[in-house]
Amino acid sequence: MTPSSPRETLITTIAGLLDGVRHVAVGASSPIPAAGAMLLRAMSEVAGAPPVRISILGSVRHNFFTNGSVELFDCAGQGRIDAFFLSGGQIDGQGNVNLVGVGDYPQTKVRWPGSFGAAYLYFVVPRVILFREDHTPRIFVDKVDFISAPGTSPEGVYRSGGPYALLTGLGLFDFDAARPGFRLRSIHPGHDLTEITDATGFAFAHDAAPAATPPPDAATLALLRGRVLDELSETYPDFAAQLQRETSEDA
């Protein structure tokens, strides 16, 4: 077997972050989070652990909702969704997420699609994983230009959810709501602390010598390249093919 690719490490890391969840929802165009969730489900099944439910929004095959697109939000409001993924055009050191644009709203210089369900889900899903593969100072800013969803809320504001971790192509951060702020948990293989510091526009806590993100072990890798890849290719055929190319013997 070829060694694990960076994306396989991301997927494995996501599976770890999801450990213990019963129900995770994934956006329609989020193949890496979906792969992480599928890997967790496969691992749980192998281990005889309680089953993991995955809802892939917009997928006919992996969508077990029957009440239209409102059901995800209702379901989250009921406390039946344990984990969800959020990305962001900008994410700042307080865990605030901007999905709207750069510059002065409404006539932003750069316009992104919009806040989707973030302004709600960030409040009510206990384990929101911030995920953005690119890691640049333009994304990870000191202060977002528009708060689609705030990292924390003042006392007295109803909030049962929020940021749990931040995963990028360079490293994995935990979120500390009390401070509030991020703490670097581990650096992915092939990267170092200076690179992450340079690429991050906000200050974050870290050990003097942060740990390395562990790559998947052989059993996990086999599961990922076997069953999970098959499942993945049903919903994200292009991504699955790409993933396979990255790790094929001929690459």
């Binding site: 165009s29 239209g68 409102v70 209702d74 316009r111 806040s115 302004a119 709600y120 007295g156």
Partner: protein
């Protein structure tokens, strides 16, 4: 519900200044209506995307028919951002009512129930809320003080437009589990539906079919448009034509490219 109507006549039901509800890309977008709406030319439309918008809204914006957009997002999905929308935002050409998905549903649900508003959690401390002076925040009257809750006013669109698999002769429409389509129809004053086909069987004949049926009571006009969601897919029917969506995304990057795309596909559509 009368007999089916041709698509151009359906488009003529739209008057300038109307508020129009359109569904999310995967739920049954009546793309068949898009060219007809552009040809018809009723402008100053207020779009409500349920809960996000894409190709259809972008084309209506590109054609200059849109005054405001209430939406949680505007995107062509894998094909990228919505180019005409993005251009209009940069130029200040449309009024933005940025929302979040459950807030759009909450507004429609209030209209469905004949209630003046719906309460929802979340939103506190967001710039989404800050830029929505039409929303209200009250302290939860069931709480001990504090506990701010956002109230979303009812959204009662003038017209809801969507595409579905089939209708029967009585005007009942099968929507399956895409129940946001029902919510749109309940909330809207009038509902225009295009369908792949009209079936001879009564959709209320069996409980199995009735379970996924929007009653004719909520349907004001129906047109037949085979493949009518294209290049979007139809839930449980056919997949999206992602190549075509990418072709649009590339073309519409400039106003000239958008015009050319429109002329091109408009000619093919008529």
């Amino acid at each position: 519900m009368p007999a089916t109507t041709d698509i151009p006549s359906l488009a003529r039901l739209i008057e300038p200044g109307m508020q129009i509800a359109l569904p999310v890309d995967y739920a049954g977008v009546s793309m068949a209506m898009t060219h007809a709406l552009i040809t018809h030319g009723a402008g100053n439309l207020d779009l409500v995307c349920v809960p996000t918008g894409g190709l259809q809204a972008d084309m209506l914006i590109g054609a200059g028919l849109v005054r405001s957009v209430e939406t949680s997002a505007m995107t062509l999905g894998e094909a990228g951002g919505a180019p005409c929308f993005n251009r209009a935002v940069k130029e200040g050409g449309i009024v933005l009512k940025d929302a979040t998905c459950p807030a759009i549903h909450a507004g429609l649900t209030a209209a469905q129930k004949g209630a003046p508003f719906s309460a929802m959690r979340g939103l506190i401390g967001t710039d989404v809320l800050r830029h929505r002076p039409d929303w209200r925040v009250i302290d939860n009257p069931f709480g001990a003080g504090g506990d701010p809750v956002v109230l979303i006013p009812a959204i009662q669109p003038d017209v809801a437009i969507f595409h579905a698999t089939m209708a029967d002769r009585a005007g009942n429409v099968w929507i399956g589990r895409r129940r946001e389509l029902a919510t749109m129809a309940y909330a809207a004053r009038r509902t225009i539906v295009t369908v792949e086909r009209v079936v001879e069987d009564d959709l209320f004949e069996t409980e199995t079919m009735a379970a996924g049926t929007l009653p004719a009571l909520y349907v004001d006009a129906i047109g037949i448009a085979p493949n009518g969601a294209w290049p979007y897919g139809l839930w449980g029917g056919y997949p999206a034509d992602t190549a075509e969506l990418s072709r649009y995304a590339a073309a519409a990057r400039t106003t000239e490219g958008f015009a050319a795309y429109l002329a091109d596909t408009g000619a093919a559509a008529s």
